[in-house]
């Protein structure tokens, strides 16, 4: 159960953060359930490299803390898997579930973004920042955040926010979007300390009033 932000898991194969080298993405066909690390590499690729007899001459893997961490974890899991294979075949499924839960938790943290302190190396995960900004947007009456992505905007600690929104139509949309933008900028500054320099907002659906107008049809949600 994702407690933090159910929208941080990308619905489609995740995109690499950096420029794709082509070979990195193209040689490996992602299998269902594969996960991308915060650096953009697929976990399956990192683990395949770690399994190779000859150490891969890949400068990224050597220098990337996420890839190194994933490879270190694999050694532990390999040892446990070998031990279990001998004595406890059913336990392998439970182990696999726990391993994938651990990986999903890590991947769900999202990319790392710089906090607004140019003198120190302070970062925040995209999932933590997005959660705060989504809450800020939800605080605007008649608006609900649908998705929220954050990316580095050029040099330094500048951040771009891209949010999709569902909104009620009882007031002009530009006015409501403006309120949401202000709420995002305020929360980014006051709650997080994130230098948001651009906010892109798209309204993607209509938020229906609740409770619905009398005679609006059959209620489909809710309980007794």
């Amino acid at each position: 159960m994702a407690l933090d932000d159910p929208h941080t898991r990308p619905p489609e194969p995740p995109e690499a953060d950096g420029p794709r080298t082509g070979s990195a993405a193209a040689d490996v066909l992602p299998f269902p359930g594969d996960q991308a690390l915060p650096c953009g590499r697929l976990l399956s690729r990192v683990w395949e490299q770690a399994q190779d007899e000859a150490p891969a001459a890949d400068p990224h893997t050597v220098s990337c803390p996420h890839c190194r961490e994933a490879a270190e974890g694999l050694a532990t899991v390999n040892a446990a898997t070998r031990a279990l294979r001998a004595v406890d075949p059913p336990g392998l499924h439970a182990l696999a579930d726990r391993v994938m839960n651990a990986v999903r938790t890590e991947v769900g943290l999202g990319r790392l973004l710089p906090l607004a302190d140019p003198d120190r190396d302070l970062r925040i995960t995209e999932s933590a920042a997005a959660k705060a900004l989504r809450q800020a947007a939800d605080g605007v009456p008649g608006a609900r955040a649908a998705t929220c992505r954050l990316t580095s905007a050029g040099e330094g600690t500048d951040i771009r926010v891209t949010m999709t929104l569902v909104a009620m139509l009882d007031r002009p949309l530009p006015e409501r979007v403006h309120q949401v933008r202000r709420a995002i900028l305020h929360s980014a500054g006051q709650d997080l300390g994130l230098a948001v320099t651009a906010v892109d907002i798209s309204v993607v659906d209509v938020l229906e009033p609740w409770p619905p107008h009398p005679g609006a049809g059959i209620r489909t949600g809710g309980g007794a």
């Binding site: 407690l3 933090d4 803390p65 961490e69 994933a70 270190e72 974890g73 694999l74 532990t76 899991v77 040892a79 446990a80 279990l84 406890d88 336990g91 439970a94 182990l95 726990r98 391993v99 839960n101 651990a102 990986v103 938790t105 890590e106 943290l109 790392l112 906090l115 607004a116 302190d117 120190r120 190396d121 302070l122 970062r123 925040i124 995960t125 999932s127 933590a128 959660k131 705060a132 006051q190 709650d191 997080l192 300390g193 994130l194």
Partner: protein
């Protein structure tokens, strides 16, 4: 050249970070979470507790000069994340430097992994 036990630095850094108001916990690194997943096949799952040091990495700089410390923090809602992170940065750096036998450069990275709402699990 001095010998410092990295494990001792992990403990010192974890303690310093956890002492900062607004820090509710340290987020275990993936390797520790995987180790915990493997360990709980042999023990009762609840019996495996991840120590706070699992949220810290201490590494020698590639050229051997000094240390790099990375701390992964879970914060409480209600304080500005960058301010808490800045305090963690300062206290961890000070604590680690004081633990070294001889002066060496220490760099610190602080990552806020989660901001826990009051109703969240710690």
């Amino acid at each position: 050249m001095t010998t410092v036990d990295p494990t001792a630095l992990l403990g010192v850094a974890a303690e310093a970070a956890l002492g900062v108001p607004g820090v509710t916990g340290l987020q275990p690194r993936l390797a520790h979470r995987l180790a915990a997943a493997a360990a709980s096949t042999r023990t009762h799952p609840a019996s495996h507790r991840t120590p706070p040091e699992a949220g810290v990495r201490a590494e020698r700089a590639p050229d051997g000069s000094g240390w790099h410390i990375e701390v992964r923090c879970v914060l409480a809602e209600g304080r500005r994340a960058v301010d808490v992170a800045r305090t963690v940065h300062g206290r961890v750096r000070t604590a680690v430097i004081s633990r070294l036998a001889a002066p060496e450069p220490v760099t610190v990275t602080v990552t806020v992994t989660r901001i826990a709402a009051r109703y969240d699990e710690p």
